[in-house]
């Protein structure tokens, strides 16, 4: 008997220093690590949540924002069920890069991937990106939008919970493609849903 019903892979992307690792830490460990160093390559966390009384396991891949790791991080997009694109509301350049990120996602990720735009660091006074700008951008690109603060634990839980709910609905509607390793990027999505449900044979 497995201890979860669904397994979803969530990948966080975005410029260096926007707070991806902090979001993950806040969510998985409930802490805000001050002076968190830059992530190298990819980091991995796991968190099981409960949605409608069913256990959902979230595999969270926290990627490095630095340009030089882009090639390895891209390879993680592919098997993601949800991609969280993070920017820093107090840093215009991180917002300006969003189109580039979308292009990358378009290129490397599954086209049915759930995409969420997150404006992080709402605790900061020096906001540069008004909320509605981010919202507009998300709407234009068919993304969910949320503003969070990892420091204040604002909206972090909600972010991941909504992802879990949304993905579970998709999974239940069988919208989520079945994994088939031998097929190309079109059908080839990941194991987890199929996997986990068959592991938890009753």
């Amino acid at each position: 008997m497995e201890d979860y019903k669904f397994l979803f892979k969530v990948v966080l992307v975005g410029n260096a220093g926007v707070g991806k690792t902090c979001l993950v830490r806040r969510f998985t460990q409930g802490l805000f690590p001050p002076g968190q160093g830059a992530t190298i390559g990819v980091d991995f966390m796991i968190k099981t949540v409960e949605v409608d009384g069913e256990k959902v396991k979230l595999q969270i891949w926290d990627t490095a924002g630095q340009e030089r790791f882009r090639s390895i991080t891209q390879s993680y997009y592919r098997s993601a069920h949800a991609l969280i694109l993070v920017y820093d509301i107090s840093c215009q350049p991180t917002f300006d890069c969003l189109p580039d990120w979308l292009r990358e996602i378009e290129e490397y990720a599954n086209n049915k991937v759930l995409r969420i735009l997150v404006g992080n660091k709402t605790d900061r006074e020096d906001r540069e990106i008004p909320r509605h700008i981010g919202d507009d951008f998300a709407q234009r690109n068919g993304m969910y939008f949320l503003e969070t603060s990892a420091k204040e634990a604002e909206n972090v839980e909600r972010l991941f919970m909504e992802i879990a709910v949304e993905l579970m609905e998709q999974a239940k509607c069988k919208e989520l493609p079945k994994y088939d390793g031998s097929l190309g990027p079109i059908n080839g999505k990941t194991s987890s849903v199929g996997d986990s449900s068959c592991c938890s044979r009753s």
Partner: protein
């Protein structure tokens, strides 16, 4: 036990099963199935006590005797461990893992499949925890599992998570360095395990898929790039200690990369290389390039030999790939890497792949030349690196392929004709540099093999290019191909003191002689021509000197000595008479003339010749240092010391002939053998007589040209053999006349000759032009008077035939040609009779004649400079045709010319 008991047990079992399936809680241990009890028993009361060994043995025995229970045992262990992880009771987790390991090893391979599922789930569970200790433990178990060879296919197994997680571990950023290192090590080991597990099994995950390689390869490289120093060991010696011994991530990553590359088949090599290249781009690791060199060497050393070519290919395609973003320096670094690895590939490259590599390199070179680079020095670095790669590659190919490659490169050189653009020149020089690089690696054995006709022809074609530096480069190529005995470095600078150099000289081989008799003329002509160019620098001249001296050494033979001496004299003559040459160039030519002349007796042991040249050198040392080596760029020479004012310091053709005779070399053989010029001895006498004849005739022909006192000429010639003098006059007159006739008839056919030849011919026209009037005027009187004085009947007959033709210019060309030929051979026979006597007298005459006189004789030549220039210009556009290719008529025409040609040497 009573049967009731048994039934109760069964009932309990069913119940517990049902319970287990539905709600996953077996409560009372008495009712539990046996395997569960066995599993429970292996756990001690306190985790510190470790696995209960005796109970573990019981469990192992049980699972071996009833393997159908294995899957349930595994599942149960996994659940227990999951709970323990959740409750953070790591001690028990470790014990569970240990038990699973032992069971795994104890299992027979057929039954393994049943157990593996839960085993892997267990490993994954441990990897998902944030505790480094558990992650490392999981990796160890996984590696143990990976080393087991399964014989049952495992269709349903997926390693996606493992690859992702192990790669993430490879990038661990743990704050504690030892922990970080051990996590990274575990990550690498895990990847190694995945590779081992999947690479040989077609049914599981295809590890070569981009999504996996994009994780594995950068992870390995990332760990390797941290190393302090990169020492590339060539071969698989590291294979021995890959097991557990390596404690540094870079070393282990290297071993893993080697293993990965070593297992890659042809179709998969690309999927490894692509992430490697991307990683280098992303992490900007090309500069400095030692890490890149290190990695690519590792790849080359560990790749299956037959695929090594594809690495070279991939790197070459990547040279320019990300053109815009990457600077020229990066490109240069990539080319450097290429040059470092290309040699490793060379050994295994065969057939078309070789030329493909070369072609690719050349294409890149051309692209580089065409590119407008902001930083030219960087672009040059890049080109140098490419050329180096070319050289490295060629160096490791067998010799016959080097020739192929050189011919291939030569064929890519833009033709030297017309007005070359700057880019053309650059490309030309770069290709020549590549050629030089390849040539340096070639070890010449036989000249004919080193210079296939087409190759030689192409080289000589380039040798007349307008760019002086390019010409010098071409000479260097000739040096490296000609020099078989490492003499070239000694001969870089012209010298006359060969004793000190310690040259290696060996007798010339038969095939080489055949080679030089076939191509000698073309080579010599082109070198001669190369010396006549206005744009020559001292570098060009000394380069040609080196080529000639190498030729003299490599072809040291009595059969070639005449050719060499003729060329030397021709160069000397051109130094005097070529109007385009500057004083410096003239001095340089004189210097190399004497240097070469001194080399010939040194190489062949011809003491008389050596003595003679020494005399000249001594004389020059006293009077005209500027006509001796070393060459300088600037000559400060007073007008009366100009080379053409010092004819007595020249090498005398007749004296050379004498010296040869004294050494027992038969110079007459050359009359027919060498297409380069006519016989030496016979020709010599003849030519001398011509000069003197000209002098005696001076009354008519030279008087108008030379302002000098005519009477002096007579008095000068009145020394010893006056009587013979008349005879020579007659001879020469005849000769002169048929030449004149010939010129009138055949001038338009001039282009049939080689450039060198026409070049010399021109002089005669010049003279004819100057003398024509007088000769024509005098023809009835002078000629027939001469004939009456003539001594030989045969000659007389010939001559009369000739003169009859002469007096009937309307006669068909054919007949007159015939006559010409006969007339041409006539005098030689006649002369041979008393050649000895004549020569002595002539020598005396010539040597004792006042230099002013001789000077005056030579003077007229300079009045026809305009004409010369015009001809030179026309010549330079003339293709260089091999002499043998001429028409029969051309051959006939050759004869008189051949004889006449050496006339020049006098000056």
């Amino acid at each position: 036990m009573l049967p009731v008991n048994k039934i109760a047990h069964r009932l309990c079992f069913m119940m517990s099963r049902t319970l287990y399936i539905t709600c996953c809680c077996g409560c009372c241990s008495a009712l539990r199935p046996r395997y569960k009890r066995l599993v429970d028993n292996i756990f001690p009361a306190l985790p510190q006590d470790g696995l209960v060994k005796s109970n573990m043995e019981k469990l192992t025995f049980y699972s071996l005797s009833s393997p159908e229970k294995l899957d349930r045992i595994g599942d149960y262990l996994f659940q227990k461990a999951s709970r323990d992880i959740y409750r953070r009771r790591h001690g028990f987790v470790i014990i569970a893992m240990e038990a699973m390991d032992q069971l795994l090893l104890a299992c027979h391979s057929q039954t393994l499949n049943l157990f593996v599922e839960s085993f892997l789930k267990m490993v994954q569970k441990l990897l998902e925890s944030t505790d480094p200790q558990l992650q490392i433990l999981a990796t160890q178990s996984f590696v143990r599992f990976a080393n087991i060879e399964e014989d049952t296919p495992s269709y349903h197994r997926r390693y996606d998570f493992f690859v992702s997680k192990f790669s993430a571990m490879c990038h661990s950023n743990h704050t504690d360095k030892p922990t970080r290192d051990s996590i990274r090590l575990a990550g690498i080991r895990g990847l190694q395990g995945v590779i081992r597990k999947t690479v040989s099994d077609d049914l599981v995950e295809n590890i070569w898929e981009a999504q996996h390689m994009d994780k594995i390869v950068p992870s390995l490289l990332y760990n390797m790039q941290g190393a302090e120093k990169y020492e590339t060991v060539s071969c698989l010696e590291s294979e021995t200690d890959t097991r557990e011994g390596i404690e540094e991530p870079p070393k282990l990553a290297e071993a893993c990369l080697r293993e990965l590359v070593g297992r890659a088949s042809y179709g998969h090599i690309r999927s490894v290389l692509r992430p490697v290249l991307t990683h280098f781009d992303r992490h900007e690791l090309w500069l400095p390039c030692d890490f890149a060199v290190h990695i690519f060497k590792i790849i080359m050393f560990s790749i299956q030999a037959q695929y090594s070519y594809s690495v070279v290919e991939a790197l070459m395609q990547h040279l320019d790939a990300s053109g815009g973003g990457s600077g020229t320096r990066v490109r240069a670094a990539r080319a450097t890497v290429l040059s470092n690895i290309v040699a490793i590939a060379a050994g295994d490259s065969v057939g078309p792949s070789v030329l493909e590599i070369i072609n690719n390199l050349l294409t890149n070179l051309r692209a580089s030349v065409a590119r407008d680079s902001e930083k030219e020095s960087d672009e040059r670095l890049y080109q140098e690196a490419l050329i180096n790669a070319l050289g490295e590659f060629a160096d490791h190919l067998p010799d016959f392929q080097k020739i192929d490659i050189m011919m291939f490169i030569v064929s890519k050189i833009p033709s030297g004709r017309g007005k070359p653009t700057k880019a053309d020149c650059m490309l030309q020089s770069i290709l020549l540099k590549s050629l030089l690089k390849v040539g340096t690696t070639y070890k010449t054995t036989e000249l004919s093999k080193a210079f296939p006709a087409a190759f030689l022809e192409a080289l000589l074609r380039v040798s007349s290019t307008s760019e002086a530096r390019t010409r010098a480069l071409l000479q260097r190529i000739l040096h490296t191909l000609l020099d078989r005995r490492a003499n070239a470095p000694l001969l870089l600078v012209p010298t006359v003191q060969y004793e000190k150099l310690g040259l290696t000289v060996e007798k010339c081989s038969r095939p080489d002689l055949i080679f030089i008799s076939k191509h000698g003329h073309a080579i010599f002509s082109s070198l001669y021509e190369g010396l006549q160019l206005e744009s020559n620098t001292a570098e060009n001249i000394s380069a040609i000197y080196t080529t000639l001296s190498l030729l003299a050494i490599e072809l040291a033979s009595e059969e070639t000595v005449c050719d060499m001496l003729q060329l030397i004299l021709a160069i000397q003559q051109s130094a005097i008479s070529n109007p385009v040459l500057s004083t410096a160039q003239q001095c340089q030519l004189h210097a190399i003339t004497v240097a070469l002349a001194a080399l010939v007796p040194h190489v062949l042991a011809l003491p008389p010749l050596g003595d003679y040249i020494k005399q000249i050198i001594e004389a020059r040392r006293e009077e005209a240092e500027h006509m001796l080596p070393p060459l300088s760029d600037d000559y400060d020479v007073s007008p009366n010391k100009l080379p053409n004012k010092l004819p007595y310091l020249m090498i005398d053709q007749m004296a050379l002939g004498e010296c040869l005779k004294a050494c027992g070399i038969e110079p007459s053989r050359l009359q027919t053998a060498s297409p380069y010029s006519g016989g030496t001895a016979v020709g010599l006498a003849h030519r001398h007589s011509w000069v003197e004849a000209g002098a005696t005739q001076g009354r008519d022909s030279l008087a108008d040209i030379s302002a000098g006192p005519v009477t002096e000429l007579d008095s000068a010639n009145s020394s010893p053999g006056v009587q013979r003098q008349t005879q020579y006059d007659a001879l020469d007159e005849e000769y002169r006349m048929f030449i004149e006739k010939y010129n009138y008839n055949h001038r338009p056919s001039m282009p049939h000759f080689g450039t060198y030849r026409t070049d010399n011919e021109f002089w005669h026209w010049g003279h004819e032009d100057a003398h024509a009037a007088s000769v024509h005027d005098a023809r009835t009187s002078l000629v027939f008077v001469s004939v009456s004085i003539s001594f030989d009947h045969v000659f007389l007959d010939d001559f009369s035939t000739f003169s009859s033709h002469f007096s009937h210019p309307t006669q068909s060309e054919n007949v007159s040609l015939e006559a010409l030929r006969r007339a041409a051979s006539g005098p030689s026979e006649a002369e041979r009779r008393d050649a000895e006597r004549r020569k002595v007298s002539l020598n005396n005459t010539f040597r004792t004649a006042p230099f002013d006189h001789l000077l005056h004789i030579t003077q007229p030549k300079y009045e026809i400079q305009d004409k010369l220039e015009e001809i030179f210009n026309s010549i330079s556009e003339e293709p260089l045709l091999p002499i043998g290719a001429g028409s029969p008529a051309g051959k006939t025409q050759n004869q008189p010319y051949t004889k006449y040609l050496t006339e020049l040497f006098l000056y």
